[in-house]
């Protein structure tokens, strides 16, 4: 149907997730940003959702009409930016 002609639009660039896949996840029970993330990988990429999270929130709102509090943001997980394993180790494991 016309309504879904934009299903191919890419929403999460890091993980190459389309609008259609996000709509399908919502049909399968996703109600939150985290629910969409686990079902599609949107938000699991290198930028950890910095680019796509707002779009995912908007799609959830458009599809379900729920309030922002219910949709949530994805849990902020450390590190906030990618960091090398080596730099984490510091003194006890070698050079910083």
């Amino acid at each position: 149907m016309n309504e879904h002609r934009d299903d191919d639009v890419l929403i999460c660039r890091c993980e190459e997730v389309t609008l259609g896949e996000i709509r399908e996840a919502i049909q399968n029970g996703a109600r939150t940003v985290t629910g969409v993330k686990r079902r599609t990988r949107a938000g699991m990429g290198l930028c950890q959702g910095r680019t796509c999270e707002r779009l995912v929130q908007q799609i959830l709102r458009a599809e379900l009409g729920n309030a922002p509090e219910e949709i949530g943001t994805s849990t902020v997980r450390p590190p906030v930016r990618p960091v090398s394993f080596g730099s984490l180790v510091g003194d006890e494991g070698g050079k910083l």
């Binding site: 993980e15 399968n28 029970g29 996703a30 109600r31 939150t32 985290t34 629910g35 686990r38 079902r39 990988r41 699991m44 290198l46 950890q48 849990t75 997980r77 450390p78 590190p79 990618p82 960091v83 090398s84 394993f85 080596g86 984490l88 180790v89 510091g90 006890e92 494991g93 070698g94």
Partner: protein
């Protein structure tokens, strides 16, 4: 009010498998989960389905049977959950570890499992990016991996499509019993559901649910942390873990590792596995910290340190995410898969600690066998709830 043959409480790997196997037996099943499917420990964990981290005997027997059952489920369910038999490589740092490993492998081989000891050359041939100073290890061929939350979604999507009732975002607040303490159903924040059989698959939260039926359950949350790397070229092609992992899991194994204070304090042992999305999951540790699942920097650092010790190439690679979960820990390292004797119709399938993903298929199958009165695939007396009770009285933690 809706009536069912069985109500499964908990939408993690154990609950979805129990519901699936009951549904397959032709029962009217309701699956009740207070949040989203797989919101508990089953989305805060690694992804391996192992025999090579289990004690010889029923522990390994269940693990092996589960892997065989997973191979069938892949054919039965039309959704992918990334199941693959990849094998498991253990690596050893010291002679005492090699000796302990050789004893373990001999026991498992005697029971018929395919495991073999390896020397430095062999382990480097399998994993060229391993540190060059390791003295050997062993290989177990039957071990597999899968994506745990995709497994939950696959089973739920399949059941829903076939007409099973899935009540997500529904919190169970009570268990209904008749005057003979027989199960009648459950109370939820969205109304009453009736059934003669209720299965508690609450994972680390199972004790709360058990209390609603007047039962004590000594499960405790045992925290573990995982680090996810960026997508990268394959630095390992299967699950690799240090033999010291056995020591962090079971208290009974005695040898001392040559590790930093930080690693000892946080009880870290290196485990690494590739994922389908070309990231790596690096772990892991075991600590008792209640239900707190924050990712502490000291534990992150210790896991990174131990990872680099075994895979020096990790030093240059990026960490993009760290998360923690709580394993449902039982003091005797065996889950409860059992009806509760003095509450007919009340079943418990919980307490799988670090093996819930592995054991979910066989646990689900055996719960369906118990509920429908069929003989179980093998003798599971050791998993009975009654083992926790002495002279009819339950043991307090």
């Amino acid at each position: 009010m809706s009536a069912f043959d069985a109500i499964v409480v908990g939408g993690g790997v154990i609950g979805t498998q129990a519901a699936y196997h009951l549904f397959k037996e032709g029962l009217e099943v309701a699956l009740v989960e207070r949040y989203d499917i797989a919101d508990g420990t089953s989305s805060h964990c690694d992804a391996v389905v192992l025999i090579g981290d289990k004690m010889p005997g029923i522990d390994t027997e269940q693990g092996y049977a589960s892997i065989q059952r997973f191979k069938e489920i892949v054919q039965e369910v039309p959704y992918d959950f990334e199941f693959k038999v990849r094998g498991l490589l253990y690596v050893c740092e010291t002679e005492p570890e090699m000796e302990a490993a050789a004893g373990y492998v001999a026991d498992q081989v005697r029971d018929g499992y395919d495991m073999q000891m390896l020397d430095t050359k062999d382990i480097l041939a399998r994993e060229p990016y391993l540190a060059k100073d390791l003295i050997g290890g062993f290989w177990s061929s039957a071990d597999a991996t899968l994506n745990p939350y995709k497994l939950c979604y696959a089973l739920v999507n399949h059941m829903r499509a076939q007409g099973a009732k899935i009540y997500d975002r529904t919190n169970v607040t009570g268990v209904l019993l008749d005057e003979k303490r027989r199960v009648k159903g459950v109370e939820t924040d969205r109304g009453t559901l009736l059934a003669k059989n209720v299965i508690n698959c609450g994972g680390a939260w199972a004790p709360e649910l058990a209390r609603m039926a007047g039962c004590d359950l000594p499960i405790q949350p045992r925290k573990g942390l995982c680090l996810i790397s960026e997508k990268a070229f394959p630095i390992c092609s299967q699950k690799v873990q240090e033999f010291g992992y056995m020591m962090s899991k079971f208290e009974g194994i005695n040898f001392t590792r040559n590790v930093s204070e930080r690693v000892a304090r946080t009880n870290v042992a290196m485990v690494i596995e590739p994922t389908d999305a070309d990231n790596f999951i690096l772990g892991g540790n075991r600590e008792f910290k209640g239900f707190d699942i924050s990712a502490e920097i000291e534990s992150i650092q210790a896991i990174a340190e131990r990872g680099i010790r075994f895979f020096p190439i990790l030093r240059e690679m990026n960490l993009i995410r760290a998360y923690a979960g709580v394993r449902p820990y039982m003091p005797d390292h065996l889950p409860v898969v059992s009806e509760v004797d003095n509450v007919p119709g009340y079943y418990i399938a919980a307490g799988h600690e670090g093996d819930g993903i592995s054991l979910s298929a066989i646990t689900g199958k055996m719960i369906a066998q118990l509920v429908t009165g069929k003989p179980t695939d093998f003798n599971i007396d050791k998993l009975k709830y009654s083992r926790l009770q002495k002279g009819g009285k339950s043991i307090e933690q």
